[in-house]
Each structure stands twice: as C-alpha cells, then as structure tokens.
C-alpha cells in the first residue's frame, strides 16, 4: 500500500504536466510492432484516465488506442487498473475530505452543523462519483458490464466513507429532525392559524423542506445508498414514534368531546405528514405506512397497558383511554401483559393494609366495569380480579362494607358505597345465573384460549353478583343483612317500613326467599306493632282501671325468636318513663290476653328537649343518653312530661327543668344507670360534645350557660371516639363468630373425648355434618386449623402424628 500512492502520484504528475505533447509523440511513432503499440497505447490511455482535477473530453486518437487494447483483450486489465487507481485516489483525497466534515467536535450536538455535514458529504461523494465515472462514460460508453463492475467497487468505497460513526449520528439527527418537523406541523398549524403571514411563511418553509428532501433523495439515489438511509429512517422512526406517543398521550386518558381517538390521530399523522416525509426520504410504498402504523399501535398499546391502573381509578372519565387500549390490544401477548402489569400495580398500590376496604371495593367496582368494556367475555376480568377477591376475603370488614353499600347505610366508618345499592336496584341488569347448558343458544362460542381452567362464564351477572360470589356461600351476607335490617327497623320512629320493604325485596331477588324469612317476620312485627300501638292509644278501648298511656310513648313488639340476639344490658330509665311502660304493658296484656311485654330498655330512641338557662336544645338520642341527662334534672322541680317517639322503648322526656344537680361523677352515673363504664363514658362524651355537659376531672358538670371553648378543646378526643356511631344494639357478626366458635369447641371436645384422636379433615367433616343448619358451620378448614392452633397454644389440645387429641 505504501508503494501505490507514490506510483499513482508520479503518473499523475507526468500526465498532468504535458498530456497533449505525449499523445502526439505516440501517434507520430505510427505503425511500429504490435507489442510496442500496445505498451504505448496502454500508457496513453492510462495517463488520460488517471483521476485528475480537470476533466477533459478524450482526444480522438484515444479511442483508437482503446480499440487496439480491446482487440488485444486488455480491456479487463485496463478496468482493473482504473479501479485500483480510483481507490487510491479516493483514499488519498475523498476520504480525508469526508473526515474533514467531522473535525468540529460540537458536531453531534448541533443540528444545523450535522445537517450541513451530511449534505456536504453526500455532495462530495456525488461529485467524486461523477468525476470517476467520467472516463468510463467516454471510453466504455457501451460497455455496461464494465460500468457495473466499477460501480460495484465504488459502492464499497462509499460504504467505507459512510460507515463513520459520526456520519451515522449526523444522519440520525437529520432524519429525526425531519420527522419531528412533520409531527409538529399539526400543532403549529393550530397556533398560527389566525395569522396569514405565518401561514405563508409556513408554506414557504414547507416547500423549502420538500425541496431539501428531494435534493437529499436524489443524491442518495445517485450514490445508491438507499438501504443505508432506509435503515436510518427505520431506526429513527422507532424512537420518534415512541417519543411522540409518550409526549402526546402519556397520562392523558381523558379527552375533550370533539377530540378524535388517539389511534385516529396517529393514523392521520402517519398516513399524512410522516408518510410524505418518509416517502420523500426513502421510497413510495404503501406497506411502509402500514408497518409504521402497526408500530405506533404497538407503542400506544404498551403505554396504555402500563396506565391501566390509572384508567381504572379515573373511570369513567378515562373511557377514551380505555377505548385507545381496546382498539390497540390485538395479540395474546398484549392480554397476558395487561393482566400481569395490572396485577403488579394492584399488589403495589391497592392490596395492602394502608388502603380502606371501601376504596378497594370501589376500585373493584371500577375494575369490573372497565374490564367488562374491554373484554365482554370476562376472561381478563376473571384473571385480574382473582388477587383482589382473594385479598378482600382476608379483610374482616368486607362483608360489612358490602352490605352497608347494598342497603345504602350511611355509615362514616365504611364510606359511601351507595353505588352497590343503586346497582342492586337496577333489577333489569340482573338476569339470574348464566345458563351455560343452553343447547339452543346459536351464538354460543367456546371460552377464549387464555381462560383459566375454572373460568366461570358470568356475562349476564352484574357487579353485585361479583361481590356476592366473593365467598363460597351467601350466608355471611345474609347474617350481616339481617343485622343491618334489624338495626334499621329498631331505629324507625313512625313505623314507616316502605323503604325497608323495598330493600328487602331487592335483596330477596339475589338471595332467595328462604334465607331472609326472618326479615319478613321482623318487618311484619313492625307493621303489627303499628296496629297494636294505635289500639293501645285508642281511648275508646280504654281498659278499666288503667290510666291512658301518654300519646308520645310508643313501643315496638318483637318476635324474639326471629330477631338477631340482642345484647342483654340493663338500663335504669327515669321513673316517669317506667310508669308509662307499666301502663303500656298493662294495656297490651288486656289487648292480647295471655301475653306479656318484656322490655328491652336499651333499644329505641328518645326525642329530648333541654331547656337551659340561655338556650333550648333538641336531640334525638338513645335511651342511655337520655337517661343520663335526666340524672342532671332536679326531680322536685321538674315538670315530667314524657313525650313522643317510636321503636321499642321509645319515649321522649320533655325536661322543663331547673337543673339543680350540677355535678355527677362517672361512677355515680354508672351506679344510677346500671351501665358499664365504657357506655357511660360514651354517653357522657356525647353531651360534652354537644356543649351540655363539661368534663371536670372525673366529674361532669352541667353547663347552664353555653361555653364556646368547649368545642375546640375536645375535638381531638372525639376523633378518637368517633366510632360511637358504629355501636350496634344487635350482636355484630364478629361477636356472633366468637360465640359460634364456642359452640364448635364443645363439639370438638365431644368428638375427641369419645373418638380419642382425629385428623383435621375428619373434624371438619364432623362439624359440617353434625352442626344443625340453624347454627350453620361455614368455616374453611384453614380457619379451623387456626382455631385449633389457638387451642393448642392454650394447652387444651395436642397434635401428634397429624391427629388432634385432648390434653389430659
């Protein structure tokens, strides 16, 4: 290689100095012998062909020489020589010039310079090509084989020149800029729509850009490096569209009404400006657009799949985002990815102890709606909801929240789940269990391939159904529902049962009549009570010897067996009330001979009017609270007028009083009301909160005059005691569970006493079989195992070789 440049250089100089003279000399020699001619011709032709700065048309005699060399079969040799010469020249001159464009170190960071460099290099190479082709075009005008051979080796040189790292960067920048320009066009159009000058300028710019592109492409085609540019365009497009989609659509799942779906927008963009640009750069081909659009779809799908959790949270505002996703999701891979990514987000953001059960339920409702829209077959929903359902089952208050939602209970602890109640009322949505065995269904299709083996087809059930199928049996819900309905019926004041009947009817549609039979009786009790109560107050059927009952005193008669167990707590009521109760009971016995009322003094509600020195307050409170405030009234000076109410032991005490007893301690109140400390404190705090009492050490003082400060002082304490509203007069499910476990335990003791030792599955099946249905045994084997583990810890059981036995 060392030798070559010098040789070429000397030839170059020799020829360059006096080509004309030499040529003449050769011609004058005339007809010497062939080999001598050949050598002379060779020298003559090569001298002319050697690359040089100025291009001349070949002199006439040269054609003769070429012809003679051709006759001697030296054409191919001549071409070899020429390719060699061009290669040397290219390395010597063109390559350094190409590299010269990259001497600026700021180049890769400067768009203008990069564009300049790419253009410069392409121009340079085009010039070089023209230059090198010049001799061939003249001497081998008809010899296409020769031309092709030359182009082939020249292409190798171009490849070397363009494989420079810098060139690649620069061309990437150039193409990227071109694509971004076309992507941006839409928005700039909108911004400058008002100004015509701008429009003209834009148009001008557009034309310029197009011209630039055409020039660029012409050069590329001249050089035959379309493949290279195509690769670059593909690479750039890939990044471009990803960036474009992230910039324009990430976290934008909501849309204005007149805005088209993302996919339509993308299609317009790709088939419009981008297609024009790419076609200007590469070639005109419909398939390219198709491929580019596919890529964009894929990219959008990935974006939205990652955003699924937010889509569910934002539902229903996020419907446009959901529609994007729906139109993008095409492959099985997408579906799998969607499921796993959504499950991962749920695990991370939802299913941990920091989230309220209510929020999880609301999220689950949205999940159901979203995935129903996305995949009406429900396969995806089935998959993504499994972890959520599993988690919900672990939560203690799930049932309570759901039932409160269904019955639209307004409970600050469970939050607003009235959506469940509304859906429940939407009877038309519920078409009963899906009937998969309907052979006449001509629209039947098999479950999709990605359905889980135990996938249940539940198209026709609404989301309430999803919640009710959370547990293996519906009994857990029934128990809670009965409790809630019982509580609500007890709170009624006017025997108004229409709302409860409506709820009960709706609930029955889901749960069936049988399980809710008790509720029917409960409701009937209330309506019966209304009638009996009216009779008792009816002066016409006045029983002899019994004073009439005050008109504001009402009672509810309950059929004890059909109501949930009541907490049997005692409460001492004011004597005025007790007197009314006795009269009421006496009248009842005359109306229903042979039956006797037994009072549940803690249930019911009281309307109280407090007339204090500077203010009159009205409350509707529970009997224990009313009795407590009554303690503060001076018995000697009060006008005792029990007044209105409704419910079990409803009465109202109208306290037209001079409060003389100003101070009472907790223990005094406990003693006089016969309440436990917790209840007493809670009741006292209620009055403190309402500014009637004031806490002083362990005593409570009546505030005849309102005090402003009391409110603020106590705010924090009330936050702690906010759960007071959750106090239920009926045994809660939790209390019931403890009691049930006690029953189960006696069965377990029984079986282990008589059968010595048993494995856990035998114990489970015994309990399942032997415990009567009224009591119901619905524990899973895991719950049983937990319970037995507690018993082992308490040293009442021992576990040996997989079997449990009693400890002696």
């Amino acid at each position: 290689m060392d030798r070559m440049p010098t040789k070429v250089g000397s030839l170059y100089n020799a020829v360059f100095l006096a080509p004309e003279v030499r040529a003449d000399a050769r011609v004058m020699r005339g007809n010497a012998d062939t080999s001598a001619y050949a050598s002379a011709d060779w020298e003559l032709v090569t001298a002319w062909m050697t690359p040089k700065a100025l291009l001349h048309p070949p002199p006439d005699y040269l054609n003769v020489s070429v012809q003679r060399l051709e006759n001697l079969g030296l054409t191919s040799k001549l071409l070899d020589w020429y390719i060699d010469a061009v290669r040397s020249h290219f390395v010597m001159h063109a390559l350094p010039a190409v590299k010269g464009h990259f001497s600026d170190p700021t180049l890769p960071f400067n768009l203008q310079k990069s564009t300049g460099a790419v253009q410069g290099i392409l121009t340079l190479l085009c010039d070089a090509l023209n230059h090198y082709m010049h001799p061939l075009m003249h001497l081998f005008h008809d010899n296409l084989v020769a031309q092709a051979r030359f182009r082939h080796s020249f292409n190798a040189m171009i490849d070397i020149a363009l494989s420079e790292y810098e060139f690649q960067i620069c061309s990437l920048m150039l193409v990227d800029n071109v694509l971004s320009e076309s992507g941006k066009k839409r928005s700039t159009d909108e911004d400058s729509a008002e100004e015509e000058d701008d429009d003209a300028m834009m148009e001008d710019k557009e034309t310029q850009r197009h011209e630039f592109l055409v020039a660029f492409r012409t050069r590329v085609e001249t050089l035959g490096v379309q493949d290279l540019i195509e690769r670059t365009v593909a690479k750039v497009y890939h990044f471009f569209i990803q960036r474009y989609i992230h910039e324009n659509y990430a976290n934008r799942v909501e849309r204005e009404e007149d805005e088209p779906p993302a996919l339509t927008e993308l299609r317009e963009l790709i088939y419009g400006p981008i297609a024009r640009t790419v076609q200007a750069l590469v070639r005109e081909d419909e398939a390219v657009c198709e491929r580019m659009f596919e890529l964009a779809t894929e990219c959008l799908a990935r974006l939205r799949i990652g955003e699924m959790f937010n889509i569910v949270i934002g539902f229903p505002d996020s419907i446009p985002g959901l529609e994007d996703l729906k139109s993008c999701i095409k492959t099985q891979e997408h579906r799998t990815q969607l499921v796993s990514s959504f499950q991962a987000s749920c695990q991370q953001r939802l299913l941990h102890c920091g989230v309220n059960t209510t929020d999880i339920i609301l999220f689950y409702i949205s999940t159901i709606k979203v995935f129903r829209l996305l995949d009406p077959r429900g396969v995806l929903l089935d998959k993504v909801s499994r972890p959520i359902r599993r988690y919900l089952r672990e939560r203690d208050d799930t049932v309570k929240c759901i039932v409160n939602g269904l019955l639209e209970v307004d409970d600050p602890n469970t939050g607003d789940l009235s959506e469940l109640g509304k859906e429940l009322a939407n009877v038309s949505g519920h078409k009963g269990d899906a009937d998969d065995d309907n052979y006449a269904d001509m629209n039947w299709v098999p479950d999709p391939v990605d359905a889980a083996p135990d996938f249940r087809n539940q198209r026709s059930t609404d989301f309430v159904g999803e919640f009710l199928s959370l547990y293996e049996n519906k009994e857990v819900f029934v128990k809670e529902i009965v409790t809630v309905i019982a509580n609500r019926l007890l709170e009624l004041k006017n025997y108004e049962i229409d709302r409860e009947i409506m709820h009960l009817e709706l609930i029955k549609l889901r749960f069936g009549e049988a399980d809710l039979h008790n509720c029917d009786v409960m409701i009937k009790d209330i309506s019966e009570s209304k009638r009996v109560d009216a009779n008792i107050h009816d002066q016409a059927i006045l029983a002899p010897g019994i004073e009439p009952v005050n008109r504001v005193f009402h009672a509810t008669m309950l059929s004890r067996l059909f109501w949930p167990a009541f907490k049997n707590e005692e409460l001492v009521l004011p004597p005025e009330i007790t007197e009314q109760m006795e009269r009421y009971a006496a009248k009842f016995s005359t109306l229903k001979s042979g039956r006797k009322l037994s009072w549940l003094t803690k249930l019911g509600s009281v309307d109280v009017t407090l007339e204090l020195e500077d203010r009159t307050l009205r409350f509707s409170v529970s009997p224990d609270r009313a009795s407590m405030i009554y303690l503060f009234q001076s018995s000697s000076k009060s006008l005792k007028i029990p007044v209105c109410g409704g419910g079990w032991t409803d009465y109202l005490t109208r306290q037209r009083v001079l409060f003389i007893i100003g101070t009472l301690t907790i223990s005094e109140m406990m003693q006089r009301l016969r309440l436990d400390e917790a209840t007493t404190r809670r009741a006292a705090l209620f009055w403190v909160k309402n500014g009637v009492l004031k806490e002083e050490g362990d005593s409570y003082v009546l505030l005849e005059k309102a005090q402003e400060s009391t409110q603020k002082e106590l705010t924090i304490r009330f936050l702690v005691l906010m759960d007071e509203t959750a106090q239920s007069s009926v045994q809660t499910a939790e209390e019931k569970a403890t009691e049930e476990m006690r029953v189960y335990w006696s069965y377990i003791v029984g079986m282990l006493t008589n059968l010595n030792s048993l494995p856990i599955d035998r114990i489970q099946s015994f309990l399942k079989m032997l415990i009567p249905k009224e009591l119901g045994y619905s524990r899973s084997i895991d719950e049983l195992r937990d319970f037995l583990a507690v018993m082992i810890a308490e040293e009442r059981l021992e576990l040996a070789a997989g079997a449990y036995r009693l400890r002696k």
Binding site: G750, T753, N754, L770, I771
Partner: protein, 180 residues
Amino acid sequence: MESQNAHPAAGYSSLKMQDAPASAVDGHSVTKRLQSELMQLMMSNVPGISAFPVSDSNLCQWTGTIAGPEGTPYEGLTYKISMTFPANYPYRAPVIRFVSPMWHPNVDMSGNICLDILKEKWSAIYNVQTILLSLQSLLGEPNNASPLNAQAADQWDNNKAEYKKSLMAHYKDIEELADE
C-alpha cells in the same frame, strides 16, 4: 305408655307395622332428631358423660364415655359404651353396650346391660343425655334384684372390698382400649 311409644304414622295400622317397623320410617327424621340431641348434649356440657357419632356419614352409631360417679367403687374410672340407634328411634330404644370390660351386677361379661328404661320401660321422651345419666347412676346403684352377673351382685351386697378387687382386675383404661 304403649301408645306413647308408637310412631304417629303407624297409629291406626299398628298391627301391620309391627312386623317391619324399622324400614317403614324414613331415616331423615332420625338423623334430625339425633343431630338436635347431639347439639343439646354438646351445649349442656354435663361433666362425666359424653357421646358422639362414630362417623359423619352414619349418625345412628355413637360411642360414649361415662366417668364413674364419685363415692362409688367406679370413682376415677372411665368406661366406653357403644350406642346403636334403630331407624325408628326415638320410638324404639337404642341398643347400648359397654365396650370396656365391666364388672357390675346388671352388666354381663360381653357388655350387655339390663336396665328397664332401655327395655320395656323405654319412652320416646328419653334421649341420649338421660340414658347416659341413667347409666352413670346405675353404676352407683345397681339393681341387685335381677342381676346378669350374680357373682358381682353377691360381692356388692356382702364384700365391697372383694367387689372393688374384681372390678379393678377387669378394668381396662380407655387408652389401652383404643390401642387394641
């Protein structure tokens, strides 16, 4: 007493029913009755007596445990019994047998028991709990007028120390019994 023990359905054709009473009554009510009796037994939790079905598939076969009452030779000992309920229970008495070897005037060596309420004086008002209580009291107060085990009856009347000795010679602990 007789009419009380007749199945109500069999009331007017008692002659016919007598031959095949067991099969004629449906098993469901027996199961239900036994289930509620079990519940009652479990809930009342009387010390010293206990019984439980042998398997969850057949409620008519129970096994029971009776602790010897205090102040009797049986104090501190525990006996196992088997109870088999007929299909027309409670209109027929259950068949009850001591599984543990028993030394008692009214119990023979194969565990058969001679107790009037399990035979001719059976009534539908009795239940598992009353049977167990009767058996428990039988341990302390044998009916020596009609003994199945004459030797035991003799010892009970004349030589309590000898009685206790024979008793202990025959006694087998529940644990050993279970191992066999």
